[in-house]
């Protein structure tokens, strides 16, 4: 008999190696969360610099109050799918509010951000269609593409001319959907949207932009990359998440197509799962209103992001990209030294994400920071100083 776990023995060896170097970097436990930027980890207060909590919105009193009120009014869970008993007035209110925020006719919410990509991609594309996806796409995009059954063509990251070439090469037939991301989650770089829109005009396809890391962050209205680039009319579908700028959990898809709502009856990740819990929906709704009312959060985030980016540049660190975004990734030499540096940073009182191949583009080993509007300048300067001590001064050489 073949043991089904045989294929995971390589993972077990890698896990052992990571454990031997210190704390398990990929299953860390926050004992307590004190604020959007502080937690108790291993018994000590730690600065959080890898949470994707871009707006610093997770402890806002009115969001918490909205969640508590919803718990009392609607109970702990919906116990059902949106197409059965799981649609409450709250879900419809949130979709309406978000459609307004996004300036789109229609919006559908999903239970998680992961499911938003699964649901949108599998709802939009079918076996007779082709999806063109950026090589650096998030796993939820790859998985959504697979679930759709569509033909999948991968193009080189952020390379509109490569997409142009592949579209020209394609066999005719079926719909064509191109998928981009506003800000790519590992390196923090943006899609060159104007270039892709030119290719769209040449070839004709429908365009979906996943604004998971750019929603709330980019653009004069905080609607994401398309808002920043002034190209919202050229983007057919927007996907996003509530687990970053909104500080909750859930996801959404939005668009202006007259048949958009038919996705509610065609998208399995929408239909065959319980709808988001009332408290989650209520805190998300309150957070969207807060984002609209407080654009200064976005401005503060931009200032903080630039401060960290420039501080790291000043240390001579190799960064994931040349543009400022709330994701500032430091490129490290190899897996062992990256784990050692991550441990050293944690011991010094700062948590960042560790990102290792194959979850990263080009086999890069990254210490990935994400900035929050709730970080103070002192926080940012401390993160820079600790990276200076641990990373720039070659701590990894000692570790290896």
């Amino acid at each position: 008999m073949t043991d089904l776990f045989d294929k995971h023995r390589g993972i077990a060896e890698r896990h052992e190696r990571m454990m031997s170097l210190g704390v398990n970097a990929v299953s860390l436990t926050n004992d307590r969360i004190l604020s959007p930027t502080r937690a108790i980890i291993n018994g000590r207060e730690t600065v959080l610099a890898g949470t994707n909590n871009y707006m610093g919105i997770t402890f806002e009193p009115d969001c918490i109050a909205a969640g508590q009120e919803a718990l009392g009014l609607y109970g702990t869970g919906t116990t059902g799918s949106r197409i059965a008993n799981g649609s409450y007035a709250l879900h419809r209110d949130l979709e309406k509010e978000l459609a307004g925020f996004l300036n789109r006719t229609h919006c559908i919410m999903f239970t998680t951000g992961y499911q938003a990509n699964l649901g949108m991609l599998a709802g939009l594309a079918g076996p007779k269609d082709t999806i063109y996806l950026d090589a650096d796409s998030h796993s939820s995009i790859y998985d959504g593409c697979t679930l759709s059954g569509a033909k999948l063509v991968r193009f080189r990251h952020n390379d509109a001319s490569d997409l142009d070439k592949r579209l020209a090469r394609s066999e005719e037939g079926g719909g064509r959907l191109v998928v981009l991301e506003g800000i790519y989650s590992m390196l923090g770089d943006r899609a060159p949207l104007a270039d892709f829109v030119e290719v769209k005009k040449k070839h004709g396809f429908q365009l979906l932009v996943d604004e998971a890391h750019s929603f709330g962050v980019l653009g004069p209205n905080g609607r994401g990359l398309a808002d920043e680039a002034g190209l919202e009319d050229d983007v057919d579908f927007v996907v996003g998440t509530f687990s970053k700028s909104i500080g909750a959990i859930g996801g959404f898809g939005a668009g202006n197509h007259p048949l958009f709502n038919m996705l509610r009856y065609a998208s399995r990740p929408y239909m065959f799962t319980a709808s988001p819990s009332p408290a989650t929906v209520a805190t998300s709704l309150a957070a969207i209103r807060k984002l609209k009312a407080e654009p200064e959060r976005r401005e503060r985030l931009a200032v903080n992001s630039a401060r960290l980016f420039n501080g790291f540049k000043g240390l001579g660190l190799a960064l994931g990209c040349d543009s400022v975004s709330p994701i500032v990734a430091v490129n490290c030499p190899d897996e062992v030294s990256t784990i050692a540096m991550w441990n050293a940073l944690l011991n010094a009182g700062v948590y960042v994400n560790i990102a290792l191949p194959p979850g990263t583009p080009g086999k890069q080993c990254l210490l990935r920071c994400s900035v929050s509007a709730a970080h103070t300048f002192e926080d940012i300067d401390r993160i820079i100083a600790l990276f200076g001590e641990v990373v720039a001064q070659g701590h990894y050489k000692k570790a290896s």
């Binding site: 090589a135 033909k151 991968r154 066999e171 191949p357």
Partner: protein, 80 residues
């Protein structure tokens, strides 16, 4: 099996074959060469561009060995 295509594939695979394992038609591209899923897709992108053909990702789930990939390339070239 088309030896010319096989030889070209071996050449294109070289930068991904960091362990420098000897390549045979029956070599499993992922398992034998210990190449992760992203690198396999990157390699196939090189193959697409070299031959100017389209190899959708869906095809890869049934393409294990180099000989399998030779057949895929042959089939795609015949369509062009």
């Amino acid at each position: 099996m088309n030896q010319d295509i096989f030889a070209t594939l071996c050449q294109l695979l070289e930068p991904f074959n960091s362990a420098k394992i000897a390549l045979k038609p029956e070599t499993d591209i992922s398992a034998d060469l210990n190449i992760d899923s992203v690198s396999v897709m990157d390699f196939v992108m090189e193959v697409e561009d070299h031959f100017d053909i389209e190899i959708p990702l869906n095809v890869l789930s049934e393409t294990r060995s180099l000989a399998d990939l030779v057949k895929v390339v042959e089939g795609r070239l015949a369509k062009v």
